[in-house]
Structures are given as structure tokens and as C-alpha cells.
Symmetry: C2
Subunit: 426 residues, 2 copies
């Protein structure tokens, strides 16, 4: 834990205090480049080789079979099915409102323009598996893909000794997709990009996965990625009205993600800082991922400021992936929020709600990228093109601006395409 | 020109026939890396140095002054002002319909979620200048930025001997922005990223500019770019009803852009191919950019297919930046179009209309990227965040899915953030 008291906010000081956890590694990058090259050259056999080596795959078949899906359905509990369905219903409701609107408009008589949306044709979803099968990520990626209308969807998830968690397989079935490869890491990303030739790869992962995604994205191919990834993070703004038990629990729920997770508390109350510290010590003892939390507690930053307006200013500078505003005046502060991936308002809105079940997406921009990127939405599974239909009269009306601007730009073949029409037209 | 006759469409064959013009250059990349490093280290003085060296800048002041804007307004013709205003009005009308909709919805009682959009805070626009001042690009970038609500906008444009074209300055004034640096090339991109610290850089440019943008985009900073850039391209589908004079003019208007521009004609009529060839020879003689066209004619591909449905199939494979459908059945083919940046329907819709004045944007995905990216729209100048406000009762309702899914994922601190609330709640 690091503790700071700020009387006024200077950008240079914030720059130092609010540094992200750095995680550059040339070793990982070199290793990932090898894997990508190898899969590009040798295809599926290279993927199988890596999966045998790293994940204990025990056959040459990477694809999950219909039988495996059926077995998974038998093995999951009824409670899980109900829980999954409740979460999925909320996520579906929220993401159905994100389908972008097509439109057609007559700009001037004879000139009709419009915009049309198409689902991405081939997409790849990466779902972390192993000891922590991220069933929630299946919903967060699979549901918007479905709403967008994506038909050809490839899913990769690492299997331990050839087995994928039944809950994960059940969740995948639930979204309606079924092309699932049992492979993880950089080789899974290579499979989606080079063998399945998907247009876009979505999903979180460890450093091998995110490095592979970033390398694929910088290659000159038609494969891109959802967004750059960094460690998960939360910033909590709390005032003296906040319950320190809740605040500590929210910070801990972030810190359990990984040793590089970051959590920031900004408050105008000294009391809250000291109470939250004690609560963290108390609560972490009965939680299971103590080892990770003990490490990531190093990345907990506690900041005392003079007022909640300053707290918002600081948060806008940091641009947190998740922002929890646990203050009496949460509604007023809402208007001042600019940069965050997802905002949680008031004492009863923990980040876990958005991570799993309230309906919003949990795939969000980290590392300050919310200044530029939006969190994942249905539109990320689509792309648009514009179109126009012009009549002879419409083109006559446009001739003046086209010919004039083309002349200024020195592009007379552009002007010519209009002139020949108006001269040769009947 | 290259001529092909295809009786059936095989993907491997298309892959060979429809190759893009390659333009990788490690020399350019190394040079650009030097420039970026130098500006990052030495700031504005490095930019001034490069602008003096490459563009004949004759002072240490890069910023366009109020006086220069006033002089520009006096020097441009009344006809130009009228033409610009007509084009701008159409572009404004089309892009005003692209502001993405915010929404708020009650997912279940006590759980309210929404999505909020914010303009990007700092954006950079690159406008090619020099011999071909791209006034149309000022409108295509400046107008959507304005509609999105961007306030801090930095514009860079190369000046020859310290002078920027008056038409360009007038167009910039027209959009309401006025922070204009007289510098181009990689140093301009470095200025926007490192000195102005913009969040996103928009606009076309030569290889130095696009290489700089791509390098900036792959760096771990909060600066991103509009889209990857390649040479401009058009695909024209024509049947025997098409006027070869129009078709030739459309192909030439693309080929005059640069020696690496590509144009493809796909037709079911042998007659059209031979007539268009003659027309190209005839028309290019009276156009001014003959040297460029003579070179880029190498990149003209003429393809005879059996029917227009096959032509569309081929176009969807190629995914052209611009697609012109000049056939009798253009409206029916429209439904089959999937991959393109912008579509022009019928004999009276030349690409020049969309390049300048009909209202659609001319910043479009090249090199097959329309399979993944949309053409530039107002939403590219914005980003969104989601938010939620949950009541105590709402959280009780969500507890079942949250606790269940968190347990499956082995994240008990996530569950704990809900449990402590439901236990400690009054």
C-alpha cells in the first residue's frame, strides 16, 4: 500500500503517483513471435504440438466434440444453469440496445445517401480457462456477437489434460456457438489469425495472449483486435458516508485478479483511509486467493484529497477501467465523470455486479485507454459502409462544389468524371 | 493494365489476381523512427528543424497566426467560398445523423444501466498540403470532429516556404478550428502525439505520415489512430448498359491519386472492356497528371466474368475502398454487397461525388480493411462508457448469478463484495 495526501492536484505529481504497473518483457515477445511464425508456417500441427507441450493435450483433435458438449450439460448443476440464464438475460437486454442504427437520407433532391451495417464475417473469441474458467467472458463476448449477427465464430480456450470445464462448455452452448478449439496461449491466437483467418480477435488473456494479439494487430493483415490490454484496475471514490467494509471488499475484488492488478482509493476522509486499511487486513484473511492479494496489495494506492470534486479530477486524469463512486453526492459527481470504462454509482453497486450480471460488459479499456476507446459493445462486432445513389439532376447540383474543390486540389481526373457525365448525358 | 477472363471464381486464383500494390520499406521505417525519437527527446525545436530542412520553413514559429487566417480569407474567390459551403452543408447533414445514441434502461427493478458518450478530449488532424492542398479533407475530418463536440483540435499541414494555401486556411476557419501548425510528414505526427499529446490522430498522408501513425499506434501510449492506411483503390462493376466514357473516367479519377493507386473493372461484357480501354487512352491525354496515370495504369486490372453476381462475389472478396456499381440491376446487386468502404450506385454516382460533396466521408478503409473497419464517422471522434446504479433490492436480485458465477471462476473476493453488502446492509 502507498499513502498520499494531496492538498492540490499537480499533473506532474499525479503522473508519478498514479503510474501503472509496468510489464514489458522482451523474453515473452520473442517467445510469442516464434510461436506465431511456427503456426503460420506449419499450421494446425504446430498448434497441436504446443497444446500437448503446455496444456497436456492427449489427442491430435483440438475441436470439442458434440459428445463433450452433451456430457458437459449433464455435469453442470441446475443452480448454475439458472444463474447463467439470469446473467445472460440481463446482458442480452443491455447489448440489444447497442445495435447501431442504419439510415438513409435525401441530402438534396436527387442525392440519396445512407449507412449500412454488417456483422463481421469471421470472429475469434479467446476464453481463459484452466483453473479459472471464465464463464462470464463467454457471455460478455458471445452475446454481443450473436446480437450483431456474427455467424462464423471460433472460440479458443486452454484445456487442462484435454478437459474443458463443463460450465464453460455449457455457457458456450448457451450462446449458440459450437466451434471450440481446446488450445490457449499465443498458439490459440495464431490459430484464429492464420488458420481460421478471422477478421477480429476478442477476449482477455495472460501476457502471452495479449502480446500475441498486439503483434497480430500490428501485422499487415485483415485481422484486428478488440482493444489493447493491460492489467485490470479500479478506482474507488469514497466519502465519510461510505461503509469501509464495502470499500475494502471492492478494492480486494480487484486485487485478487492478479499480482499486477491495481486499486486506487481516493477519499476526502482520513477516517475512511484508516478504517479501509484495517478492513482489508481483516477480510483478506478469509479469502482464498491470499497469495495473489498479498502481492497485489503493493499496487494499492490510497489518496487523501480535500474534496470529492478533486477526487473526480484525479480520476479523470487516471482514467480507470472501473470507477466506483461511493459517496453521498454520487449523482452530482456523475456529471463530472469523463474518462472511465465503466462507472458504478452508490453504495450498492459493486464492480462484481458489472463483472457478471447487471447487463453491462466487463471487457473494458485499461491503462488509461478509456480516454480513447469505448468498452466492448455490440457495434464492435460490426462494421459499416456508406452508400449513395445520385440522379442526373442530383449530379448537376453537386457539380459546382465537386469541380471547384477538385480544381483547388489539382485533381482534374476527379472533375473529369463529373464533366463527361454532364456532357454525354442524354 | 492486366486482363483476366474468369469462368469460375476460385479463391486461390483471386488471391493472385487481386493482390494489392506492396509498399514495404525498411528505409522509410528507420527514418521515421529517428524522427519520432528526436521529437520525443527535443520537442518543438526538433519539429522546427525538420520543417526548415524539408519544407523550407523560414521562421521559428510553426503556428498559423490570426493575420494569416485573415489574409487567406481575402485571397480566396467567392466561387470557392460558395462551393465549400455547399459541400460542407451536405457533409454536415450526413454526419449529424451519426452521433451515437446514449441510453438508460432499467434491466430489472433496482438495476439501472446506461451508456454515455463523450467527445475525445484532444484530437489531431493531418491535412496533406503543398502542391495539392486537400481542402476536402479539412471538411471530412473537421466537420465530424465538430459534431462530436471535440474542443481541443490540433491541425498539422505542410507549408511550402512557410506558406499554407489560402483555400486550406479558409476551409479550416470554416470548420471553426484555428490551432494549425505549419509542418508535415513524420515530424507533424510526432508533434501531435508527443507535444500536443492528442488522444487520436486522423487523416491521410504519404508513406512517412502513415508509417509514423502506425508506429505511434503500436506504442504503449494513450494515442491511437483513425485506421491503417494503404493506397487508394476503386472497383467498378459494369455491364453492357454502362457508358464506357463514364467507366473510363471513374477508373482514371482513382489512378491519378498516386503511382500506387489501384483500379479494378469487373464486367460481364467483352465489349465494355475493349471500349473502356480505348476511352482510357483517349481521356488520359487531356488530363494533367499524365505522368502519375501512366505509372498507375500498371495497377489497372480488367476482369471479364460470366455474370454480375460473380462480379459482386469477387468484389466482396477484394473488399474495395470504393465500389461503383454501374449496371442496370444496380439496386438488386446492392443487397449482396458486404465488404466496401463506400458504395456508388448507378451511372450518375461517380466516386468524385463522395470524395467532395454528396455528404459521405472520404476517409475509408483500404487494402481489404473494410472487412473489419468502418469508414470514418462521427462516432470515431467519441468514446463511451457504461454506468450502473443498483439499489439494495436490486443487488439482492443479482446476488444469485454473481455468487454462482464467481464461485465457478474461483474469484471469491468478487463474491465477497456482494456478501458483505447483503450482510451489513441495514
Amino acid at each position: 500500500m502507498k499513502l498520499y495526501k494531496l492538498n492540490n492536484v499537480k499533473e506532474t505529481e499525479l503522473h508519478t503517483i498514479l503510474q501503472r504497473v509496468k510489464s514489458n518483457s522482451n523474453v515473452i515477445r520473442d517467445r510469442v513471435e516464434d510461436i506465431l511464425d511456427n503456426v503460420q508456417k506449419n499450421g494446425i500441427s504446430a498448434v497441436v504440438k504446443y497444446s500437448k507441450q503446455y496444456e497436456g493435450l492427449n489427442s491430435d483433435n483440438l475441436l470439442v466434440t458434440v459428445k463433450e458438449f452433451k456430457e458437459a450439460e449433464k455435469r453442470v448443476s441446475e443452480e448454475f444453469k439458472v444463474a447463467l440464464q439470469k446473467a445472460a438475460t440481463n446482458i442480452e437486454k443491455f447489448h440489444s440496445m447497442q445495435k447501431p442504427g442504419e439510415y438513409t437520407t435525401e441530402i438534396i433532391p436527387g442525392v440519396t445517401c445512407g449507412r449500412k451495417y454488417e456483422a463481421l464475417e469471421k470472429v475469434g473469441l479467446y476464453i481463459p480457462g484452466g483453473t479459472a474458467p471464465l464463464v462470464s467472458t463467454v457471455l460478455m463476448l458471445g452475446i454481443p456477437a450473436k446480437i450483431a449477427g456474427c455467424k462464423d465464430v471460433t472460440i479458443c480456450t486452454p484445456a487442462s489434460q484435454g478437459k474443458v470445464s463443463p460450465e464453460l462448455l455449457y455457457a458456450i452452448s448457451y450462446t449458440g456457438y459450437n466451434k471450440v478449439y481446446k488450445t490457449g496461449g499465443a498458439q490459440a491466437i495464431a490459430l484464429m489469425a492464420y488458420i481460421e483467418k478471422v477478421n477480429k480477435i476478442f477476449g482477455p488473456g495472460n501476457r502471452y495472449v495479449t502480446t500475441a494479439k498486439s503483434l497480430i494487430n500490428s501485422q499487415e493483415s485483415n485481422c484486428t483486435i478488440d482493444m489493447p490490454a493491460g492489467p485490470s484496475e479500479v478506482l474507488v471514490i469514497a466519502d465519510s458516508s461510505a461503509n469501509p467494509v464495502f470499500v475494502a471488499a471492492d478494492l480486494l475484488s480487484q486485487l485478487e485478479h492478479g499480482t499486477d492488478s491495481q486499486a486506487v482509493l481516493v477519499t476526502d476522509s482520513e477516517q475512511i483511509i484508516s478504517d479501509v486499511k484495517s478492513e482489508i487486513i481483516r477480510q483478506k484473511e478469509y479469502l482464498s486467493r491470499t497469495e495473489i492479494v498479498n502481492d497485489s496489495l503493493e499496487n494499492l494506492i490510497l489518496i487523501k484529497v480535500n474534496d470529492t470534486d478533486t477526487a473526480i479530477e484525479l480520476s479523470n486524469y487516471y482514467a480507470p477501467e472501473h470507477l466506483i463512486i461511493n459517496t453521498e453526492n454520487a449523482e452530482q459527481l456523475f456529471d463530472k465523470v469523463r474518462n472511465t470504462g465503466s462507472l458504478f454509482l452508490g453504495a450498492w453497486s459493486p464492480e462484481s455486479a458489472g463483472d457478471y450480471a447487471s447487463g453491462t460488459n466487463h471487457t473494458l479499456p485499461t491503462s488509461g485507454y478509456s480516454k480513447v476507446y469505448s468498452g466492448l459493445g455490440t457495434e464492435a462486432f460490426m462494421r459499416s459502409y456508406t452508400w449513395q445513389k445520385i440522379s442526373e439532376n442530383g449530379l448537376s447540383e453537386l457539380a459546382n462544389p465537386i469541380l471547384n474543390l477538385a480544381e483547388v486540389e489539382g485533381l482534374d481526373a476527379h472533375a473529369n468524371a463529373v464533366k463527361v457525365r454532364l456532357q454525354n448525358g442524354n
